[in-house]
Amino acid sequence: MVDVPVAPVPSPSADPSPESALDPAEGVVVVTGLTKRFGPVLAVDDLTFAVQPGRVTGFLGPNGAGKTTTLRLLLGLARPNAGTATIGGRPYADRRQPARHVGAALEASSFHPGRTARDHLRAYAPQLGVPDRRADEVLAQVGLADAAERRVGGFSTGMRQRLALAAALLGDPQVLLLDEPANGLDPEGIAWLRQFLRWLAAQGRTVLVSSHVLSEVEQTVDDVVIIARGRLVHASSLAGLEALARPAVRIVSPDATGLASLVDVQGWAPVTRFAGPGEATVFDHRAAEVGAAAFARGLELHELATADTSLEALFLQLTADPEPGMPPPPVQPFAPLPGQGVVP
């Protein structure tokens, strides 16, 4: 990868990197039955998923879901209790100069504060087998060219994130595993990162980006892998996830019996499990239809609202902690947030 200008990232069409040079099979990340136990805690629990090259994949889950542990297992830094994790069909540590194939940024704090940005990168250049000037190339790529000779101790969080990304790019790897790369970036930095990751994926590279906030990566990712409590809860394309978010209308009436009979007569499939009496959520109908039906029956409504069908709400529901003794909630676009009154 040469002649890559600093941000703004060039459009994929101006991409100088030869796509044909990358073997897609070498870019596939496969996790199979992966299990990691820390004492009594199952950090990763029989996790299986695959990540495809040429796409940006969001690796999502709340804090503590096991994302970082999974990445560490993928990178051979920790050993699983069961299962396998391969990149391009091989465990990370089985490769010679693995960082030339897989670039990873695990935490934005893995720097010696007394070292300059350039020296930090150059410390790893010999083992990657890349020339020293590669350090300046990747610094320019992430917009840190001017900070090359500054000690990392004085860097802002955003600059550390960029340096961590530069370190991941040092070996010009086909596969990038980035743990929360947007943390600490300002909005401008996040916008830049989005473009940059899209650009990398457009070259046929595999880009896996973890995040605990779906909205942060929603505009960037092609695919999503969602985990919670160490287990897979959803894996699909972003479109596949969006398809789960069905339109819904929430209605509240003082006349609980009337409301129930309205739902009955209309043949709606309401969800009242999470609501109190006199409340219902109606799927696959618009507010206008529901309102008209209630009006026709003379039912008094105190609330008629289109439910929050954002992906973020769906994500929260998918990853929510199940109530003790309750089965995990079904996939619905609408559920009370933790802390809100829940009537089982």
Binding site: H112, P126, Q127
Partner: protein, 280 residues
């Protein structure tokens, strides 16, 4: 191995700790040498006035305490680097491992080279050139401080004596071996603050005390020779402890082997503990 070595060399070179340690060791040894040489000169002058030979031990040592003559004074002063200063190369070695854990750079290090034994081996070798610089700073500080003080008071410096020169020069080897012991120790105890505190406590307090205690009994006297500090002094061939009649030392080559053995055993322990565990 070459690539791993180059990487480790760069990691040490790009931090300030190695030359700070060299600087502090040089200054510390210079000061100690001036004080020690001054004390000996004072003791000799007082004994001269009293008309009896000066005893080096001040009543602490046993029967073997040397009479204060020019050779004893010179060797005692010139070997202060190995007798008191070995904490500096030991810390240098320990830092080569503990900084990686303190600043979590062990993660990118093991991503660049997942063969952990190779990483540890490269650290062991890479620390040597820096240890030589630190050792030279300490030895030069000791000799300059000692010789200048002796010369100022018209005592012989004995710097032209080949035996004294050998004693001075072999300290560098001993101090470099101490850096390797430090690498091993750091790989066993990766908490940087704890590693430095334990090293300080052991080298400055525990071992000197142990040596004095062990030397008191015939059955344990031999054991005291195998303490790492004693082994280091054996490489130089003399030290303040010996002049004090506290204990005999091993042969030069035996001392080198014993100190090297400490380094190897500690590194092996680090390899099967720290460097086998999950990282992060």
């Amino acid at each position: 191995m070459i690539a791993a070595l180059r990487a480790e060399l760069r990691k040490v070179a790009t931090t300030r700790s190695w030359w700070l340690l060299a600087l502090v060791m040089g200054a510390y040894m210079l000061t100690m040498a001036v004080i020690m040489a001054g004390s000996f000169i004072l003791a000799m002058r007082q004994a001269e006035e009293a008309g009896q030979p000066a005893d080096i031990s001040g009543g602490l040592g046993g029967d073997g305490a040397a009479v204060l003559d020019a050779t004893t004074v010179a060797t005692s002063v010139y070997t202060l680097a190995v007798a008191l200063g070995y904490i500096f190369p030991a810390i240098l070695g320990a830092l080569a491992v503990t900084t990686e854990f303190r600043h979590r750079t062990i993660t990118p290090t093991l991503l660049a080279e997942p063969r952990r034994g190779l990483v540890l081996g490269a650290k062991l070798v890479a620390v040597i050139p820096f240890a030589i610089v630190v050792a030279l700073a300490g030895v030069v500080g000791t000799v300059v401080g000692g010789a200048v003080t002796l010369a100022l008071f018209d005592e012989p410096t004995l710097l032209g004596d080949p035996e004294i020169q050998g004693v001075i020069g072999r300290q560098v080897l001993a101090l470099v071996l101490w850096a390797l012991v430090g690498v091993g120790f750091g790989s066993v105890l990766t908490n940087q603050v704890a590693a430095i505190v334990v090293l300080l406590a052991f080298t400055q307090f525990v071992e000197p005390l142990l040596r004095i205690l062990l030397a008191q009994f015939e059955a344990t006297e031999a054991a005291s020779k195998f303490l790492p500090g004693a082994a280091g002094e054996a490489i130089a061939g003399s030290s303040l402890y010996v002049s004090s009649g506290l204990a005999a030392l091993l042969e030069v080559w035996q001392g080198a082997l014993v100190l090297l053995a400490y380094a190897v055993v500690l590194v092996l322990i680090g390899r099967v503990t720290t460097f086998r565990r999950d990282i992060g």
